[in-house]
Amino acid sequence: MRMLRGWRRGLLVVLVCACAWGVVGIVFPRRATRASGAAGYVTPGVFTPAHPSAFAAVKDFVDIHPEHPVQPIAYTHKVHLAKGLPCTFCHVGVDQGPEARIPGVTVCMSCHQSIATDRPEIKKIAAYQARGEEIPWVRVYNYSESAHVRFNHAPHIRAGVDCAACHSDLTKQTTAERKIDLNMGFCINCHTQKKVSIDCETCHY
C-alpha cells in the first residue's frame, strides 16, 4: 500500500499535467486570428461564448430577469395614467410598428418645462437635459437574444390586445415592473385562445 501512495502522487502529477494541457490549449488556441483582432462586437445571446460571464449565461439560460429594475428617475406610471395620458403619448410608434419608443428628456420636458418643475425628480430630468444627456432608462421587458423572437407590437394593438395583457396593470405601478413572464408558453396560450397562428415562423425568424 505504500507503493500505492507513490503511485497516487504520480497520478496527481499526471492529472495536473492534463489540466495544464487543457488550459494551454485554451490560452493558445491553434486557431488563427479572425479577420481582425481589434475590439469586436459580439452578438449577445446564447450560452457562454456570447455572455460576459458564465454566470450571466446561466441566468439567461434559466430565464432569470430582474423583476423590478431600478430606474434613474422614479417615474410614476400611476400618476400619469390617472391624469389621462394615453400610453402612446410617450410610447410613440407602438401602434405603427414593432417597437415602442421609450421617451427621452425631450418628451418629458415638453410638459415638465412648466408642470411640477419644483419636484426633485423633475429637477433631475432638467439636469439631464441641461447636460445634453438622455435618461439612462433600464430596460424592463425584453426577450433573450437567443430566443430569436421578432415581436411586433402593432398587429397586437390592432387586434385589440390590451397593453395590460402583457405589461400588467401599469395604473398600479410607479416604474414598470416585469410582473408577467413573457415566455413562449404565455404567447402560445394567448395565440391558441384567440385562434391565431402558432406557426413557428409567426414569431421566430
Binding site: 500505492l4 499526471v14 499535467c17 487543457g22 439560460f61
Partner: protein
C-alpha cells in the same frame, strides 16, 4: 489443472482486493486522456464548435465516426453474450461478463459523443419528449430521434443484462468484504441469498433479457445506419446500410472483445480461465464476420459502380482512387487482407494471432466509418460546393479521450466487479466434473454462494 470452486473464487476476486503499480499507471493514463477530452470539450463549448475542423459541407466527421465506431463496438458484448446464452454455448462462460461490460461502456461513450457534437449541447434535453407549455415535441420522423430512443433503450437493456448475472457475484463480494465495501455490495446484491426461488427468477429474467436484447441490438445499429441511409447523400442512400452496419458492428465488437480478453488475461493473470479455446472460437467468429464484411463492402461498392450514377461515382472514385485512397486501401488491408489469413490458418489462430487480427480490425473498422461519413459529405451533388476536411487537435483530443474513457471505465469496473462470472464458472466446473447439470432454476442443486 486442478480448479476448484475455492480456487475460482480466489482467483477471480483477487483483482478486487489487490492492485498492482501497473494498474495505477493505466488508470492515470486513462484518466488524463479523459480529462484532456473534458478540457477540450470545455474549450469547444466556450469558443464554439468552430475549433473543430468541420466546415461547409463536411458537417460531420470525427464526431459521428467515433459515435458509429463506439456503438459498433458495443455489439460485442450483449449480442454475442445473448446469442451464446440462448444457444447454450458452454464455452461462453468466462467471456460473457467482460463482453457485456464492453457493451455498456461503449454505448455510454457512444451516447455521450452526439451530445458533445451538437452545436448547443445545453439544449440536448429537447430530444426528450416531455409535455411543455410550448406545445412542441421532438420530431419523431427524424432518425436522430429514433437514435435517441434506440440508444437509450439499448443502454438500459444492456446495463440490466450486465447487472442481472452479476448479482450473485455482488453477493459473493459482499460476503467476503467488510466495512464500507460490504455496505455498498449489500446494496448492489439486492439481498441475494442464493435461494432456489432467486435462482429461478434470475434465470427467467436472464432468459427474457437475452431474447429481448438481440432485436434491440440489431435495431440500434440499423437505426444508426439510417442516420445515413435516410438521406439522399450519394453513397449513403443505400438499403444495404442496415445489415452492413450490423455486420460491421458485430465484426468490430468481436475484435474489441478479443483485444479486451487478451489484455485481461495478461494483466489479471486469468490464463486458466481465458483459454486458447475461447480465442480460437471467437477467432472463428471474427473470420466469419470478416468474410461477411468483405461481402457487404463488395456488394455495396459493386452496385454503386455498376449503377454508375455520377454523384455516386464522384464519391466512389474519391475514396478508391483519389484523396481517400490511402485510407480506403488501409481499411481493406486491416479488415480483410491481414485478419483472414491469420484467422483462417489454424496454426496462426493463437491468442497472439487473434489479438493482432483484432487490433487491425478495430483500426480498419474505425477507418470504414470515417470513409462512410467524410468522402460522401465532401462530394455531394453540386461540384461547386464540394469541400475538404482536416481534423483539428480538439477532435484528436476528444477521440483519444473516448478511448481513455473506455479504458478508465473498464479498469474501474475490473476493480469493483469480478471480470469473470464466478457463479457461472462454478456451474461450468460442476458440469465439467461430470455432475449432471441441473438447472438451478429447478432448485435441486444449491449453488451455494460463498459463505
Amino acid at each position: 489443472m486442478q480448479t476448484t470452486a475455492e480456487q475460482i473464487e480466489q482467483d477471480l476476486l483477487r483483482p478486487l482486493f489487490h492492485s498492482s503499480g501497473k494498474y495505477w499507471i493505466a488508470v492515470a493514463i486513462a484518466t488524463s486522456l479523459l480529462l484532456a477530452g473534458v478540457a477540450a470539450f470545455g474549450y469547444q463549448l466556450y469558443a464554439g464548435i468552430g475549433v473543430w475542423g468541420l466546415n461547409s459541407p463536411v458537417f460531420w466527421a470525427f464526431d459521428i465516426t467515433n459515435f458509429v465506431f463506439w456503438i459498433g463496438i458495443s455489439h460485442a458484448g450483449t449480442l454475442i453474450s445473448a446469442i451464446l446464452r440462448l444457444t447454450n454455448a458452454t464455452w461462453r462462460r468466462p467471456v460473457t461478463r467482460c463482453a457485456e461490460a464492453i457493451t455498456v461502456f461503449s454505448v455510454l461513450i457512444g451516447a455521450i459523443i452526439p451530445l458533445c457534437h451538437i452545436g448547443r449541447p445545453w439544449l440536448a434535453y429537447w430530444m426528450i419528449p416531455y409535455p411543455s407549455e410550448r406545445h412542441i415535441w421532438p420530431n419523431f420522423r427524424s432518425p436522430l430521434a429514433w437514435d435517441f430512443f434506440a440508444i437509450s433503450t439499448y443502454l438500459t437493456g444492456s446495463t440490466t443484462f450486465l447487472y442481472l448475472p452479476t448479482i450473485p457475484d455482488f453477493a459473493a463480494v459482499r460476503d467476503v468484504s467488510t466495512g464500507l465495501r460490504k455496505k455498498i455490495y449489500r446494496v448492489l446484491a439486492l439481498g441475494w441469498q442464493g435461494t432456489p426461488r432467486q435462482w429461478q427468477r434470475l434465470e427467467v429474467a436472464m432468459h427474457i433479457m437475452a431474447v429481448v436484447i438481440v432485436p434491440v441490438a440489431v435495431s440500434v445499429h440499423t437505426i444508426v445506419s439510417w442516420d445515413f441511409a435516410m438521406t439522399l447523400v450519394p453513397m449513403w442512400h443505400s438499403s444495404i446500410f442496415g445489415p452492413y452496419f450490423v455486420a460491421g458492428a458485430i465484426f468490430s465488437g468481436i475484435a474489441a472483445l478479443i483485444l479486451a480478453m487478451a489484455l485481461l488475461r495478461k494483466f489479471l493473470h486469468l490464463e486458466q480461465y481465458l483459454r486458447p479455446i475461447h480465442f480460437e472460437n471467437l477467432g472463428k467468429l471474427l473470420l466469419t464476420m470478416s468474410l461477411l464484411w468483405f461481402y457487404f463492402t463488395f456488394a455495396e461498392r459493386l452496385t454503386a459502380w455498376y449503377g454508375n450514377s455520377p454523384p455516386e461515382m464522384a464519391v466512389f472514385w474519391e475514396s478508391i482512387r483519389k484523396n481517400f485512397a490511402p485510407l480506403f486501401w488501409t481499411m481493406v488491408v486491416c479488415n480483410f487482407i491481414i485478419p483472414v489469413p491469420i484467422l483462417a490458418i489454424k496454426r496462426l489462430r493463437t491468442i497472439t494471432g487473434t489479438a493482432i487480427a483484432s487490433a487491425t480490425v478495430v483500426v480498419g473498422m474505425w477507418l470504414e466509418r470515417f470513409l462512410i461519413v467524410v468522402p460522401a459529405l465532401e462530394h455531394k451533388f453540386l461540384p461547386y460546393s464540394w469541400g475538404t476536411y482536416r481534423p483539428t487537435w480538439v477532435e484528436d483530443t476528444l477521440m483519444a479521450s473516448s478511448f481513455g474513457m473506455m479504458a478508465l471505465l473498464y479498469l474501474l469496473f475490473s476493480k469493483f466487479v469480478p471480470m469473470i462470472s464466478i457463479w457461472e464458472m462454478k456451474v461450468g466446473l460442476q458440469s465439467h466434473a461430470g455432475v449432471p447439470m441441473v438447472a438451478p432454476a429447478e432448485g435441486q442443486v444449491a449453488l451455494e454462494g460463498p459463505q
